[in-house]
Symmetry: C2
């Protein structure tokens, strides 16, 4: 059976995934997107199970998510995901989030992935893996499945004058199936730099993540935070975050990832 190029996966917004405003927490939204990417690639023979058995794995390099509306408790959302383009050393994967029953578009995502050799950590040529059959799943612009993604590409923010917001120890619950710091926990940790009162009065409009190096477990992360700019046209604020770890072997601060958060106050 030839699978359709696009995947579509539904998720119910569970009560215990919600914040104090009974809306889906952004870390769980990112989680649903990454799980959809996992299902889509696994079903098509390019999942981490297959790759790990062949000494390779996917590495998420960049991610951008932009939401018009954050879904609420008990809503069922559909995450559509597809491959936009395959380059030798990376691939572009897109996302659309809708309400399952009505098709209301909630938001969009763009991501960039590399494939690496798990021993050497060197990138693989995607066109050589499985004889380049990944190309079969690219949704070309002339395909009836094609969707124009109306959000800009993931950014890697430039940050000057950074100051440390917080140092946070990392534990078992921060670690993912790969043995690295879980992507969704970075999102939690940067959102945790805002007090609960702020979360009651602000929505997240967009998140950009640029991964630099895998986070090492059981080493504290240092969160640097700054206001990047205020955007008068929609009253939004852009915050920049850099996540560092001080590695024990050389006591040097190493960057793990960089994030940008665009937020909008509920009452303008």
């Amino acid at each position: 059976m030839l699978l359709p190029k696009k995947g579509r996966y539904t998720f119910k917004v569970e009560q215990y995934q919600c914040n104090v405003r009974k809306m889906l927490r952004f870390s769980f939204l990112v989680n649903m997107m990454l799980s959809s990417a996992d299902y889509h690639s696994s079903e098509r023979g390019f999942g981490t199970d297959y790759l790990n058995a062949h000494g390779k794995t996917w590495v998420l390099s960049r991610l951008a998510v932009e939401m018009m509306r954050i879904p609420s408790r008990h809503e069922i959302i559909a995450v559509e995901t597809w491959v936009e383009k395959v380059h030798p050393l990376f691939t572009n994967r897109n996302f659309r989030m809708t309400v399952d029953s009505t098709g209301e578009v909630l938001g969009w995502g763009r991501s960039v992935w590399a494939m690496i050799d798990t021993t050497t950590r060197h990138p693989e040529n995607l066109l050589e893996v499985k004889n380049g059959t990944i190309m079969e799943f690219v949704v070309e612009p002339d395909s009836p499945d094609f969707l124009e993604v109306p959000i800009s590409k993931p950014v890697r923010v430039q940050m000057e004058d950074i100051s440390m917001a917080r140092e946070v120890p990392t534990f078992f619950s921060d670690v993912d199936f790969n043995g690295h710091i879980n992507s969704m926990r970075y999102v939690d940790h940067i959102l945790d730099t805002f007090p609960l009162s702020w979360h009651r009065e602000n929505n997240i409009r967009r998140l950009d993540i640029a991964y630099v190096a895998e986070g090492r477990p059981e080493i504290p992360i240092r969160i640097y935070k700054n206001v990047l700019q205020e955007n008068p046209e929609d009253n939004s604020t852009d915050y920049g975050f850099k996540i560092h770890q001080k590695l024990p072997e050389n006591q040097e601060e190493t960057e793990a990832c960089r994030l940008r958060l665009r937020t909008i106050p509920l009452i303008p």
Copy 2:
């Protein structure tokens, strides 16, 4: 339409819900059980949406989960849940976890819930809410749906000689839709007192939680931990945990909950 007394809800074990051994993290398992309780009660007219609109809410008082096997990445599990008994001031809800496709029994759960008035925080008489119609959903021992739950009731451990393992600040990501510390985060926090190396070599067999008072956000929790006993018959170890908060208004340590964890080494 008269709904069946028992509810059955399926969940796929997502990659990003897994620990470093590619098995479902216990906090997400508890999450799935509580979500199933939420769906079951909501569908039958006793969910938090209905109750909150009438100034009431459910409060989880005790929970016990015992697992023969922890499911792995990409397995689809079914959580069955039903009401075993309704007393005036509390109700017993049971759980069975199986593999969706094969019916393999993975584990069992028991829980005790109270209903409170959200203003006075006083318990409600469950037999008076909606004219006691909750009784319609009790699975009686003579029902064909009846399942004997082969695990003991949730315990509230007695702990002497406790010592503080860790003080942990609490942030936005620790807070649930009710504005209290999220039940699943307590599970994460106690599991985080074990190093990653321990998690690579031990399984969780059973967890008991007894809630004492709702955890207050943005106040650190103090985790007290002790070995309760070693069980030579299956080589398991019982750990006791008490979670306290030092409340700012009186600087007194107040107990939020008490947990017991039974663990088994992978290599006996």
